[in-house]
Protein backbone atom coordinates (compact mmCIF):
# COMPACT_ATOMS: atom_id res chain seq x y z
CA UNK A 1 0.00 0.00 0.00
CA UNK A 2 2.89 2.36 0.68
CA UNK A 3 4.13 1.88 -2.88
CA UNK A 4 0.67 2.65 -4.28
CA UNK A 5 0.35 5.76 -2.14
CA UNK A 6 3.79 7.01 -3.20
CA UNK A 7 3.12 6.42 -6.88
CA UNK A 8 -0.36 7.94 -6.87
CA UNK A 9 0.90 10.97 -4.92
CA UNK A 10 3.54 11.51 -7.62
CA UNK A 11 0.76 11.64 -10.22
CA UNK A 12 -1.36 14.03 -8.20
CA UNK A 13 1.67 16.28 -7.76
CA UNK A 14 1.97 16.53 -11.54
CA UNK A 15 5.31 14.70 -11.94
CA UNK A 16 6.74 14.24 -15.42
CA UNK A 17 6.02 11.01 -17.30
CA UNK A 18 9.66 9.96 -16.93
CA UNK A 19 9.54 10.45 -13.18
CA UNK A 20 6.29 8.52 -12.88
CA UNK A 21 7.70 5.59 -14.88
CA UNK A 22 10.90 5.59 -12.85
CA UNK A 23 8.81 5.64 -9.68
CA UNK A 24 6.81 2.73 -11.06
CA UNK A 25 9.99 0.68 -11.57
CA UNK A 26 11.54 1.56 -8.21
CA UNK A 27 8.39 1.23 -6.13
CA UNK A 28 7.40 -2.08 -7.75
CA UNK A 29 10.86 -3.47 -7.11
CA UNK A 30 10.60 -2.47 -3.46
CA UNK A 31 7.04 -3.72 -3.03
CA UNK A 32 7.74 -7.11 -4.59
CA UNK A 33 11.28 -7.36 -3.25
CA UNK A 34 12.86 -8.00 -6.61
CA UNK A 35 16.35 -7.16 -7.82
CA UNK A 36 15.73 -5.49 -11.14
CA UNK A 37 12.90 -3.65 -12.85
CA UNK A 38 12.23 -1.83 -16.05
CA UNK A 39 9.45 -0.26 -18.04
CA UNK A 40 9.10 -0.71 -21.79
CA UNK A 41 6.87 1.56 -23.85
CA UNK A 42 5.28 1.33 -27.27
CA UNK A 43 6.39 4.12 -29.58
CA UNK A 44 5.43 4.12 -33.23
CA UNK A 45 4.53 0.45 -33.07
CA UNK A 46 7.85 -0.64 -31.54
CA UNK A 47 8.95 -1.49 -28.05
CA UNK A 48 11.40 1.02 -26.56
CA UNK A 49 13.19 0.82 -23.24
CA UNK A 50 12.09 3.29 -20.58
CA UNK A 51 13.53 3.69 -17.09
CA UNK A 52 15.38 0.65 -15.73
CA UNK A 53 16.92 -0.07 -12.36
CA UNK A 54 19.83 -2.18 -11.23
CA UNK A 55 20.68 -5.27 -13.21
CA UNK A 56 17.71 -4.95 -15.55
CA UNK A 57 19.27 -2.31 -17.78
CA UNK A 58 21.00 -4.56 -20.31
CA UNK A 59 18.23 -7.16 -20.69
CA UNK A 60 15.67 -4.36 -21.05
CA UNK A 61 17.68 -2.72 -23.84
CA UNK A 62 18.23 -6.05 -25.58
CA UNK A 63 14.52 -6.67 -25.42
CA UNK A 64 13.94 -3.34 -27.16
CA UNK A 65 16.69 -4.02 -29.72
CA UNK A 66 15.31 -7.46 -30.65
CA UNK A 67 11.63 -6.67 -29.99
CA UNK A 68 11.56 -9.99 -28.16
CA UNK A 69 11.09 -10.63 -24.47
CA UNK A 70 8.48 -10.99 -21.77
CA UNK A 71 7.54 -7.30 -21.88
CA UNK A 72 7.09 -7.44 -25.66
CA UNK A 73 4.82 -10.47 -25.22
CA UNK A 74 2.85 -8.77 -22.44
CA UNK A 75 2.30 -5.72 -24.65
CA UNK A 76 1.21 -7.87 -27.60
CA UNK A 77 -1.13 -10.20 -25.71
CA UNK A 78 -2.31 -7.91 -22.93
CA UNK A 79 -1.63 -10.75 -20.51
CA UNK A 80 0.75 -11.12 -17.59
CA UNK A 81 3.84 -13.15 -18.47
CA UNK A 82 5.39 -15.18 -15.61
CA UNK A 83 8.63 -17.13 -15.88
CA UNK A 84 9.81 -18.76 -12.69
CA UNK A 85 13.12 -20.00 -14.14
CA UNK A 86 14.55 -18.58 -17.36
CA UNK A 87 17.04 -21.48 -17.59
CA UNK A 88 14.09 -23.74 -18.45
CA UNK A 89 12.98 -21.65 -21.45
CA UNK A 90 16.21 -20.47 -23.07
CA UNK A 91 14.80 -20.65 -26.60
CA UNK A 92 11.78 -18.46 -26.00
CA UNK A 93 13.67 -15.14 -26.20
CA UNK A 94 17.31 -16.18 -26.79
CA UNK A 95 19.07 -12.76 -26.67
CA UNK A 96 17.02 -11.43 -23.82
CA UNK A 97 17.37 -14.60 -21.77
CA UNK A 98 21.11 -14.95 -22.14
CA UNK A 99 21.55 -11.31 -21.09
CA UNK A 100 19.28 -11.77 -18.07
CA UNK A 101 21.14 -14.91 -17.01
CA UNK A 102 24.49 -13.12 -17.49
CA UNK A 103 23.26 -10.69 -14.85
CA UNK A 104 22.11 -13.50 -12.54
CA UNK A 105 18.47 -12.69 -13.17
CA UNK A 106 16.64 -16.00 -13.08
CA UNK A 107 12.93 -15.23 -12.82
CA UNK A 108 10.96 -12.56 -14.64
CA UNK A 109 7.39 -11.26 -14.65
CA UNK A 110 5.90 -8.75 -17.10
CA UNK A 111 2.68 -6.88 -16.45
CA UNK A 112 1.10 -4.99 -19.34
CA UNK A 113 0.29 -1.27 -19.11
CA UNK A 114 -3.05 -1.02 -20.88
CA UNK A 115 -5.54 1.60 -21.97
CA UNK A 116 -8.90 0.68 -23.56
CA UNK A 117 -7.67 0.61 -27.15
CA UNK A 118 -4.25 -0.97 -26.84
CA UNK A 119 -1.20 -1.99 -24.87
CA UNK A 120 1.01 1.03 -24.25
CA UNK A 121 3.86 -0.69 -22.44
CA UNK A 122 4.83 -3.19 -19.77
CA UNK A 123 6.42 -3.37 -16.36
CA UNK A 124 9.17 -6.02 -16.17
CA UNK A 125 10.30 -7.35 -12.79
CA UNK A 126 13.31 -9.62 -12.24
CA UNK A 127 14.37 -11.87 -9.38
CA UNK A 128 17.76 -13.49 -8.76
CA UNK A 129 16.27 -16.77 -7.51
CA UNK A 130 13.58 -19.05 -8.90
CA UNK A 131 10.25 -17.50 -8.13
CA UNK A 132 6.70 -18.62 -8.90
CA UNK A 133 5.18 -15.14 -8.93
CA UNK A 134 2.11 -15.88 -6.79
CA UNK A 135 -1.20 -14.20 -7.62
CA UNK A 136 -0.93 -11.63 -4.83
CA UNK A 137 2.37 -10.41 -6.29
CA UNK A 138 0.77 -10.21 -9.73
CA UNK A 139 -2.12 -8.18 -8.28
CA UNK A 140 0.29 -5.83 -6.49
CA UNK A 141 2.26 -5.22 -9.69
CA UNK A 142 -0.95 -4.77 -11.69
CA UNK A 143 -2.25 -2.17 -9.26
CA UNK A 144 0.95 -0.16 -9.65
CA UNK A 145 0.93 -0.63 -13.42
CA UNK A 146 -2.69 0.57 -13.63
CA UNK A 147 -1.84 3.82 -11.90
CA UNK A 148 0.95 4.57 -14.38
CA UNK A 149 -1.16 3.44 -17.34
CA UNK A 150 -3.96 5.81 -16.31
CA UNK A 151 -1.54 8.73 -16.24
CA UNK A 152 0.21 8.19 -19.57
CA UNK A 153 -2.55 9.16 -22.05
CA UNK A 154 -3.50 12.52 -20.59
CA UNK A 155 -0.01 13.36 -19.33
CA UNK A 156 1.41 12.81 -22.82
CA UNK A 157 -1.36 14.93 -24.33
CA UNK A 158 -0.33 17.73 -21.96
CA UNK A 159 3.35 17.17 -22.79
CA UNK A 160 2.58 17.47 -26.51
CA UNK A 161 0.68 20.70 -26.00
CA UNK A 162 3.65 22.10 -24.05
CA UNK A 163 5.89 21.15 -26.99
CA UNK A 164 3.54 22.79 -29.50
CA UNK A 165 3.30 26.04 -27.57
CA UNK A 166 7.09 26.12 -27.07
CA UNK A 167 7.60 25.68 -30.83
CA UNK A 168 5.02 28.37 -31.60
CA UNK A 169 6.60 30.76 -29.12
CA UNK A 170 10.02 30.23 -30.71
CA UNK A 171 8.51 30.67 -34.19
CA UNK A 172 6.82 33.89 -33.10
CA UNK A 173 9.99 35.40 -31.68
CA UNK A 174 11.90 34.52 -34.90
CA UNK A 175 9.06 35.94 -36.94
CA UNK A 176 9.01 39.20 -34.98
CA UNK A 177 12.67 39.85 -35.70
CA UNK A 178 12.33 39.09 -39.42
CA UNK A 179 9.28 41.34 -39.81
CA UNK A 180 10.94 44.21 -37.93
CA UNK A 181 14.03 43.86 -40.10
CA UNK A 182 11.84 43.94 -43.24
CA UNK A 183 10.29 47.20 -42.02
CA UNK A 184 13.73 48.71 -41.35
CA UNK A 185 15.14 47.74 -44.72
CA UNK A 186 12.01 49.02 -46.47
CA UNK A 187 12.27 52.38 -44.66
CA UNK A 188 15.95 52.87 -45.44
CA UNK A 189 15.77 51.93 -49.08
CA UNK A 190 12.32 53.38 -49.76
CA UNK A 191 11.06 50.09 -51.05
CA UNK A 192 8.10 47.91 -50.09
CA UNK A 193 8.36 45.23 -47.40
CA UNK A 194 7.88 42.60 -50.13
CA UNK A 195 10.97 43.96 -51.87
CA UNK A 196 12.81 44.22 -48.56
CA UNK A 197 12.55 40.48 -47.98
CA UNK A 198 14.22 39.86 -51.35
CA UNK A 199 17.06 42.19 -50.42
CA UNK A 200 17.55 40.35 -47.15
CA UNK A 201 17.40 36.93 -48.83
CA UNK A 202 19.99 37.92 -51.42
CA UNK A 203 22.25 39.34 -48.73
CA UNK A 204 21.89 36.15 -46.69
CA UNK A 205 22.73 33.98 -49.69
CA UNK A 206 25.75 36.08 -50.63
CA UNK A 207 27.10 35.92 -47.09
CA UNK A 208 26.23 32.29 -46.48
CA UNK A 209 24.06 33.26 -43.54
CA UNK A 210 20.47 32.43 -42.74
CA UNK A 211 17.71 34.94 -43.18
CA UNK A 212 17.21 34.77 -39.44
CA UNK A 213 20.85 35.70 -38.75
CA UNK A 214 20.65 38.66 -41.12
CA UNK A 215 17.40 39.84 -39.52
CA UNK A 216 18.93 39.56 -36.06
CA UNK A 217 21.97 41.54 -37.17
CA UNK A 218 19.72 44.29 -38.60
CA UNK A 219 17.49 44.56 -35.55
CA UNK A 220 19.82 43.54 -32.78
CA UNK A 221 23.33 44.74 -33.47
CA UNK A 222 22.65 47.56 -35.91
CA UNK A 223 23.62 45.99 -39.22
CA UNK A 224 22.16 48.76 -41.34
CA UNK A 225 20.26 48.46 -44.57
CA UNK A 226 22.66 51.06 -46.01
CA UNK A 227 25.49 48.62 -45.43
CA UNK A 228 23.43 45.98 -47.15
CA UNK A 229 23.13 48.22 -50.18
CA UNK A 230 26.89 48.74 -50.27
CA UNK A 231 27.47 45.04 -49.74
CA UNK A 232 24.94 44.19 -52.42
CA UNK A 233 26.58 46.56 -54.89
CA UNK A 234 29.97 45.12 -54.05
CA UNK A 235 28.61 41.65 -54.51
CA UNK A 236 27.04 42.63 -57.82
CA UNK A 237 30.32 44.15 -59.00
Amino acid sequence: MDALLSLSAALAAGSSIDDVLRNLAVLSAMALQVTGAGVVLVEGGSIVAGPTIDRATEPEHLQAATQQGPGADAVRTGLVVRVSDLRQVKDRWPCFTSSALDHDLVAVMSVPLRVPAAGIGALDLYAMAVRDWPDEQVAAAQALASIAAAYLPYASELQQSFDVSARLRAALSRRIVVEQAKGMVAAHRHITVQEAIDVMRNYATTHRASLQEIAEAIVGVGLRPLCIRVAMSAAAA
Partner: protein
Protein backbone atom coordinates in the same frame (compact mmCIF):
# COMPACT_ATOMS: atom_id res chain seq x y z
CA UNK B 1 -10.58 -3.39 2.10
CA UNK B 2 -12.29 -6.12 0.13
CA UNK B 3 -15.78 -6.03 1.54
CA UNK B 4 -17.09 -4.95 -1.85
CA UNK B 5 -15.72 -8.10 -3.40
CA UNK B 6 -13.33 -6.19 -5.63
CA UNK B 7 -9.60 -5.74 -5.32
CA UNK B 8 -7.75 -2.47 -5.44
CA UNK B 9 -5.93 -3.56 -8.61
CA UNK B 10 -9.24 -4.12 -10.36
CA UNK B 11 -10.70 -0.80 -9.19
CA UNK B 12 -7.57 1.04 -10.30
CA UNK B 13 -7.67 -0.66 -13.66
CA UNK B 14 -11.35 0.22 -14.21
CA UNK B 15 -10.80 3.81 -13.16
CA UNK B 16 -7.71 4.00 -15.42
CA UNK B 17 -9.70 2.73 -18.40
CA UNK B 18 -12.45 5.25 -17.69
CA UNK B 19 -9.98 8.16 -17.46
CA UNK B 20 -8.24 7.11 -20.67
CA UNK B 21 -11.48 7.86 -22.53
CA UNK B 22 -11.16 11.55 -21.63
CA UNK B 23 -14.35 11.97 -19.58
CA UNK B 24 -15.76 15.27 -18.34
CA UNK B 25 -14.60 16.29 -14.88
CA UNK B 26 -18.09 15.56 -13.51
CA UNK B 27 -17.99 12.05 -14.96
CA UNK B 28 -14.49 11.48 -13.57
CA UNK B 29 -15.73 12.48 -10.09
CA UNK B 30 -18.73 10.18 -10.42
CA UNK B 31 -16.48 7.26 -11.42
CA UNK B 32 -14.26 7.98 -8.44
CA UNK B 33 -17.27 7.86 -6.09
CA UNK B 34 -18.57 4.65 -7.66
CA UNK B 35 -15.22 2.87 -7.62
CA UNK B 36 -14.42 3.76 -4.02
CA UNK B 37 -17.92 2.81 -2.84
CA UNK B 38 -17.64 -0.60 -4.51
CA UNK B 39 -14.06 -1.13 -3.34
CA UNK B 40 -14.49 -0.41 0.37
CA UNK B 41 -18.09 -1.60 0.46
CA UNK B 42 -20.06 1.42 1.64
CA UNK B 43 -23.63 2.45 0.94
CA UNK B 44 -22.83 5.80 -0.68
CA UNK B 45 -19.89 7.92 -1.74
CA UNK B 46 -19.36 11.33 -3.25
CA UNK B 47 -16.53 13.41 -4.68
CA UNK B 48 -16.38 17.16 -4.81
CA UNK B 49 -14.13 19.89 -6.15
CA UNK B 50 -13.98 22.97 -4.00
CA UNK B 51 -12.39 26.36 -4.04
CA UNK B 52 -11.87 28.64 -1.08
CA UNK B 53 -15.33 29.17 0.32
CA UNK B 54 -17.36 27.52 -2.40
CA UNK B 55 -18.25 24.31 -4.16
CA UNK B 56 -17.25 23.94 -7.78
CA UNK B 57 -18.70 20.59 -8.55
CA UNK B 58 -19.79 17.41 -6.89
CA UNK B 59 -20.95 13.97 -7.90
CA UNK B 60 -22.40 11.14 -5.86
CA UNK B 61 -23.36 7.52 -6.24
CA UNK B 62 -26.96 8.06 -5.09
CA UNK B 63 -29.52 10.49 -3.62
CA UNK B 64 -28.10 10.18 -0.12
CA UNK B 65 -24.58 11.21 -1.07
CA UNK B 66 -25.84 14.06 -3.22
CA UNK B 67 -28.10 15.27 -0.40
CA UNK B 68 -25.19 15.18 2.05
CA UNK B 69 -22.96 17.15 -0.34
CA UNK B 70 -25.76 19.69 -0.85
CA UNK B 71 -26.14 20.19 2.89
CA UNK B 72 -22.44 21.01 3.14
CA UNK B 73 -22.52 23.23 0.10
CA UNK B 74 -25.21 25.40 1.70
CA UNK B 75 -23.72 25.53 5.20
CA UNK B 76 -20.00 25.24 4.30
CA UNK B 77 -19.58 22.88 7.25
CA UNK B 78 -19.14 19.13 7.30
CA UNK B 79 -16.58 16.39 6.67
CA UNK B 80 -15.92 17.16 2.97
CA UNK B 81 -15.41 20.85 3.76
CA UNK B 82 -13.16 20.03 6.68
CA UNK B 83 -11.04 17.52 4.69
CA UNK B 84 -10.69 20.11 1.94
CA UNK B 85 -9.83 22.99 4.30
CA UNK B 86 -7.37 21.12 6.49
CA UNK B 87 -6.00 18.80 3.81
CA UNK B 88 -6.31 15.90 6.23
CA UNK B 89 -8.54 12.87 6.59
CA UNK B 90 -11.76 13.24 8.58
CA UNK B 91 -13.05 9.89 9.87
CA UNK B 92 -16.17 9.87 12.01
CA UNK B 93 -17.73 6.53 13.07
CA UNK B 94 -20.64 8.36 14.66
CA UNK B 95 -21.94 11.52 13.01
CA UNK B 96 -23.83 12.35 16.23
CA UNK B 97 -20.42 13.19 17.67
CA UNK B 98 -19.80 15.87 15.04
CA UNK B 99 -19.01 19.42 16.17
CA UNK B 100 -22.00 21.74 16.80
CA UNK B 101 -21.37 23.87 13.70
CA UNK B 102 -22.10 20.82 11.52
CA UNK B 103 -25.76 21.15 12.47
CA UNK B 104 -27.07 21.27 8.88
CA UNK B 105 -24.96 18.29 7.83
CA UNK B 106 -26.01 16.33 10.93
CA UNK B 107 -29.68 16.94 10.16
CA UNK B 108 -29.16 15.78 6.58
CA UNK B 109 -27.33 12.68 7.84
CA UNK B 110 -30.17 11.90 10.21
CA UNK B 111 -32.76 12.40 7.47
CA UNK B 112 -30.87 10.05 5.14
CA UNK B 113 -30.15 7.52 7.94
CA UNK B 114 -26.41 8.00 7.61
CA UNK B 115 -24.38 6.98 10.64
CA UNK B 116 -20.70 7.10 9.70
CA UNK B 117 -18.62 9.23 7.36
CA UNK B 118 -15.01 9.44 6.21
CA UNK B 119 -13.66 12.22 3.98
CA UNK B 120 -10.27 12.13 2.30
CA UNK B 121 -8.84 15.29 0.69
CA UNK B 122 -7.90 15.42 -2.98
CA UNK B 123 -4.38 16.84 -2.87
CA UNK B 124 -2.41 18.19 -5.81
CA UNK B 125 1.16 19.53 -5.72
CA UNK B 126 0.48 22.68 -3.79
CA UNK B 127 -3.12 22.67 -2.72
CA UNK B 128 -6.24 20.77 -1.82
CA UNK B 129 -8.68 20.70 -4.73
CA UNK B 130 -11.56 18.80 -3.15
CA UNK B 131 -12.49 15.69 -1.20
CA UNK B 132 -13.90 12.21 -1.59
CA UNK B 133 -16.39 11.09 1.06
CA UNK B 134 -17.67 7.67 2.12
CA UNK B 135 -21.02 7.27 3.89
CA UNK B 136 -22.29 4.27 5.81
CA UNK B 137 -25.79 3.58 7.10
CA UNK B 138 -24.37 1.40 9.86
CA UNK B 139 -21.67 2.34 12.29
CA UNK B 140 -18.27 1.88 10.76
CA UNK B 141 -14.83 2.24 12.24
CA UNK B 142 -12.83 3.31 9.23
CA UNK B 143 -9.70 1.26 8.65
CA UNK B 144 -6.38 2.50 7.39
CA UNK B 145 -6.94 0.36 4.29
CA UNK B 146 -10.29 2.09 3.55
CA UNK B 147 -8.72 5.52 3.81
CA UNK B 148 -5.59 4.59 1.84
CA UNK B 149 -7.71 3.14 -0.96
CA UNK B 150 -9.68 6.39 -1.13
CA UNK B 151 -6.42 8.33 -1.25
CA UNK B 152 -4.96 6.27 -4.11
CA UNK B 153 -8.10 6.41 -6.25
CA UNK B 154 -8.50 10.09 -5.35
CA UNK B 155 -4.91 10.83 -6.45
CA UNK B 156 -5.64 9.35 -9.85
CA UNK B 157 -8.64 11.60 -10.38
CA UNK B 158 -6.79 14.59 -8.90
CA UNK B 159 -4.04 14.17 -11.49
CA UNK B 160 -6.69 13.96 -14.20
CA UNK B 161 -8.43 17.14 -13.02
CA UNK B 162 -5.18 19.08 -12.64
CA UNK B 163 -3.96 17.94 -16.06
CA UNK B 164 -7.30 18.91 -17.61
CA UNK B 165 -6.96 22.45 -16.25
CA UNK B 166 -3.37 22.75 -17.50
CA UNK B 167 -4.40 21.37 -20.88
CA UNK B 168 -7.15 23.97 -21.24
CA UNK B 169 -4.65 26.72 -20.39
CA UNK B 170 -2.16 25.38 -22.91
CA UNK B 171 -4.77 25.14 -25.64
CA UNK B 172 -5.79 28.75 -25.03
CA UNK B 173 -2.15 29.77 -25.23
CA UNK B 174 -1.65 27.83 -28.47
CA UNK B 175 -4.67 29.60 -30.00
CA UNK B 176 -3.28 33.00 -29.00
CA UNK B 177 0.16 32.19 -30.38
CA UNK B 178 -1.29 31.04 -33.70
CA UNK B 179 -3.28 34.26 -33.96
CA UNK B 180 -0.26 36.34 -33.01
CA UNK B 181 1.82 34.70 -35.75
CA UNK B 182 -0.61 36.18 -38.27
CA UNK B 183 -1.74 39.41 -36.64
CA UNK B 184 1.68 40.62 -35.55
CA UNK B 185 3.31 40.52 -38.97
CA UNK B 186 2.18 43.98 -40.07
CA UNK B 187 2.66 45.49 -36.61
CA UNK B 188 6.28 44.31 -36.44
CA UNK B 189 6.94 45.61 -39.95
CA UNK B 190 5.55 49.03 -39.00
CA UNK B 191 7.70 49.06 -35.87
CA UNK B 192 10.73 48.37 -38.06
CA UNK B 193 9.81 51.16 -40.48
CA UNK B 194 9.35 53.77 -37.75
CA UNK B 195 12.39 52.64 -35.75
CA UNK B 196 14.62 52.91 -38.83
CA UNK B 197 13.26 56.25 -39.99
CA UNK B 198 13.45 57.93 -36.62
CA UNK B 199 16.47 56.14 -35.25
CA UNK B 200 14.61 54.99 -32.16
CA UNK B 201 14.38 51.55 -30.52
CA UNK B 202 11.55 49.29 -31.72
CA UNK B 203 9.89 49.53 -28.31
CA UNK B 204 9.60 53.28 -28.78
CA UNK B 205 8.29 52.79 -32.32
CA UNK B 206 5.55 50.63 -30.87
CA UNK B 207 4.61 53.35 -28.39
CA UNK B 208 4.19 55.74 -31.33
CA UNK B 209 1.80 53.32 -33.02
CA UNK B 210 -0.10 52.58 -29.85
CA UNK B 211 -0.39 56.20 -28.77
CA UNK B 212 -1.78 57.20 -32.15
CA UNK B 213 -4.22 54.29 -32.22
CA UNK B 214 -5.45 55.05 -28.70
CA UNK B 215 -6.03 58.74 -29.42
CA UNK B 216 -8.01 58.05 -32.59
CA UNK B 217 -9.88 55.05 -31.26
CA UNK B 218 -8.52 52.72 -33.94
CA UNK B 219 -6.58 49.47 -33.63
CA UNK B 220 -2.79 49.34 -33.57
CA UNK B 221 -3.04 46.87 -36.41
CA UNK B 222 -4.95 49.38 -38.59
CA UNK B 223 -2.36 52.11 -37.95
CA UNK B 224 0.45 49.65 -38.67
CA UNK B 225 -1.16 48.60 -41.96
CA UNK B 226 -1.45 52.27 -42.99
CA UNK B 227 2.26 52.78 -42.18
CA UNK B 228 3.42 49.77 -44.16
CA UNK B 229 1.02 49.82 -47.11
CA UNK B 230 0.03 53.49 -47.54
CA UNK B 231 3.07 55.44 -46.41
CA UNK B 232 1.17 56.92 -43.49
CA UNK B 233 3.28 58.29 -40.61
CA UNK B 234 1.83 58.86 -37.11
Amino acid sequence: MNQGGKGLAESLSELAIMLARGPSIADALRSLAEQIAALVGVDSASASLQEAGRWRLYAGTDDRSRELERSQKSSMHGPSVEAFRAGTVVALPDIEQAPPEWEVFRAAASATRTVSVASVPLLSARAQIGAVSLYSASRRYWSRADLDAARVLGDLVTSYVVTDVKLATQQGLIRQLREALISRVVIEQAKGVLAAERGVPVSEAFELLRGYARNRGVTVRAVAAAVVDAGFRP
